[in-house]
């Protein structure tokens, strides 16, 4: 079933107007932007909670909003689920009743609800009341409630922002499960770049009253040379060995050593390395304590704020941040062979499952 979401809107937010147009057909799209840029406003417009001042929203051929013909399908008829930052569970209903609120009657809906409950590991919580749940449990229930209504689109409005880092790491795998298990396209808002990259195939960027994208993270990053998007390297890795305080990871043909703590059972991880924590060398290295020394070829040097982002092909695409001065001194330009130096402690494991 085609569920391409397309919109071309003008939204009023306070005294400014936001122009947003995009066609989304990827299974999972991230929406990135500074706080106050209007990300939530855009999601609310798609869900039908606010009306745009002008424009059009449609899923495949079905028009949900059109200012010219006056079509404005009410939120309850759009079948677009929205998971809010604060969960918004109904406080007078049990977890079970909260999850079932949007489900249709019939055995099919019950099977789906059961599946959702299993997947999000909610069985032990079903009879509890929302005010007895922790923040992470609440968000899982909110996700389950949204999924159980079998929406055509799932909109996530910073579903993890109210949680601390430790809890975030526990919920993210659930988001990935949802993406992989249910065939429901997701539009996910966050100001946490790492969170978005790990769950999204493609990204939108809302800033300065304009929406750009969808495009890949690296393309988006390099379009914004002023440095407003946080730069990072995100790699998927398999865990090779995990002992004596060091984890050996394999990302394609590249090997990396990390000092991050990881469960012994863990077989895969998402690796995050900030470009600012990577050093480059063009000469011979003497004795050095840095554990990760990777050969690569410079493919491009991008101006990046007051410094440069050096794009290197080391079997994986790696971005390293250098000052303009050191780029000049090392003669960093296309085709130059460099050694990428990364301390094992700079190899962060963002997510593991």
């Amino acid at each position: 079933m085609n569920s391409t979401l397309s919109f071309d809107l003008e939204l009023q937010r306070g005294d400014r107007s936001i122009i947003a147009a995009a066609t989304l057909d990827a299974p999972s799209t991230g929406l990135l932007g500074p706080s106050g840029s209007g990300k939530t406003t855009l999601l609310h417009a798609i869900a039908g909670l606010i009306s745009p001042s002008r424009g059009r929203i449609q899923i495949a051929d079905e028009v949900l909003f059109d200012s010219e013909t006056g079509i404005d399908v009410p939120p309850e008829k759009r079948r677009i689920a929205l998971v809010f930052q604060d969960g918004r569970l109904f406080p007078h209903w049990s977890v079970k009743r909260n999850i079932m609120v949007g489900t249709a009657a019939g055995p099919e809906a019950a099977i789906l609800a059961d599946e959702v409950i299993q997947l999000l590991e909610l069985s032990p919580l079903l009879s509890r009341m929302p005010d007895t749940l922790s923040g992470g449990e609440m968000q899982r229930v909110a996700l389950a409630r949204a999924l159980a209504m079998k929406p055509r689109w799932l909109l996530l409005d910073e579903p993890l922002s109210a949680l601390d880092t430790r809890l975030k790491k526990r919920i993210l795998p659930f988001l990935i499960r949802i993406r992989d298990h249910f065939n429901i396209p997701i539009l996910h808002v966050s100001h946490d770049v790492g969170e978005l990259i790990s769950v999204s195939d493609t990204l939108l960027h809302l800033t300065g009253n304009r929406l750009t994208g969808p495009s890949s993270y690296q393309d988006l990053l390099l379009q914004h040379s002023s440095g407003e998007i946080e730069a990072m390297n995100m790699l998927t890795a398999a865990v090779e060995t995990n002992q004596q305080g060091e984890v050996l990871l394999r990302c394609g043909e590249m090997e990396l050593v990390s000092t991050a703590k990881l469960d012994p059972q863990c077989r895969s991880a998402t690796v995050r390395i900030a470009p600012s924590e990577i050093a480059l060398s063009t000469g011979s290295l003497g004795d050095i304590s840095i554990r990760n020394r990777i050969e690569g070829k410079v493919t491009k040097v991008h101006p990046w704020g007051r410094s440069c982002l050096v794009e290197i092909d080391a079997k994986e695409r790696i971005l390293a941040e250098c000052t303009v001065e050191s780029c000049r001194e090392l003669g960093l330009e296309e085709g130059r062979i460099v050694t990428i130096l990364i301390k094992a402690s700079a190899v962060h494991l963002y997510l593991h499952g």
Partner: protein, 223 residues
């Protein structure tokens, strides 16, 4: 302590009047409470002041106004003065502000964004109101209904002006107490009804306080 037939009658009338008057104002009271809980709309302050008027006006003025509107010279052609219904209307009108105030606090304590969430989950606007906002405001509304009932049961000035003190029809407990006090040595007689009234009022206040505590525990703070 046994009551005479006339006293029993007054008690029965009081209870009937209180129940009827609460039933009459229940829906308009909850509606006005909900309306006033909506922040920022034109005319809100005026409506708020108007509905609170019966609370601050001398009850005899309320009774007189009712007599003008729903008495023999009614501009609507409705004359219910000096009937049991009139006693109920008089009690309802003076109890209404208490119901409105409590309902309003109840609706204000419900996060309006819950209805938004309900809409995205497939509920129509009215359905979201009846399934989400109304049940969450229910303990406060219950508190308002009890206060309204207690207030209308104790009403004197508006009742005597608009409904009179007709034995067997509109003579409620407070009117009976007043009558007994007029008779020589009647304060002895009245004492029993005074104690009775006090007990009913205390029970109402206690129930209302219990409901209030339930509201505070459930929905957190006010918005």
């Amino acid at each position: 302590m046994s009551l005479s037939a006339a006293e029993m009658e007054a008690l029965a009338i009081s209870i009937q009047v209180a129940l009827l008057s609460t039933a009459i104002v229940a829906i308009p009271g909850v509606f006005l409470g909900w309306l006033l809980a909506i922040p920022r709309w034109r005319g809100r302050a005026l409506v708020d002041a108007l509905v609170m008027l019966p609370l601050v006006l001398p009850p005899v003025v309320v009774g007189w106004a009712l007599l003008m509107l729903l008495g023999g010279r009614s501009p609507f052609g409705i004359d219910i003065a000096f009937t049991g219904l009139a006693a109920a209307v008089a009690g309802g009108v003076v109890g209404l502000p208490l119901l409105i105030r409590a309902s309003r606090i109840g609706f204000e304590s419900v996060d309006p964004r819950l209805e938004e969430a309900a809409r995205t989950l497939g509920m129509k606007r009215l359905e979201a109101f009846f399934k989400i906002s109304l049940p969450l405001a229910a303990p406060a509304i219950g508190q308002g209904l009890i206060l309204c009932m207690a207030r209308s049961m104790g009403e004197f000035g508006a009742t005597i002006t608009f409904a009179g003190a007709i034995p067997g029809s509109t003579r409620t407990l407070p009117l009976m107490i007043h009558e007994q006090l007029q008779a020589p040595g009647g304060d002895q007689l009245a004492m029993r009804l005074v104690i009775f009234s006090a007990l009913i009022s205390l029970a109402a206040m206690a129930t209302s306080e219990w409901l209030a505590r339930k509201v505070r525990g459930k929905n957190g703070g006010l918005r």
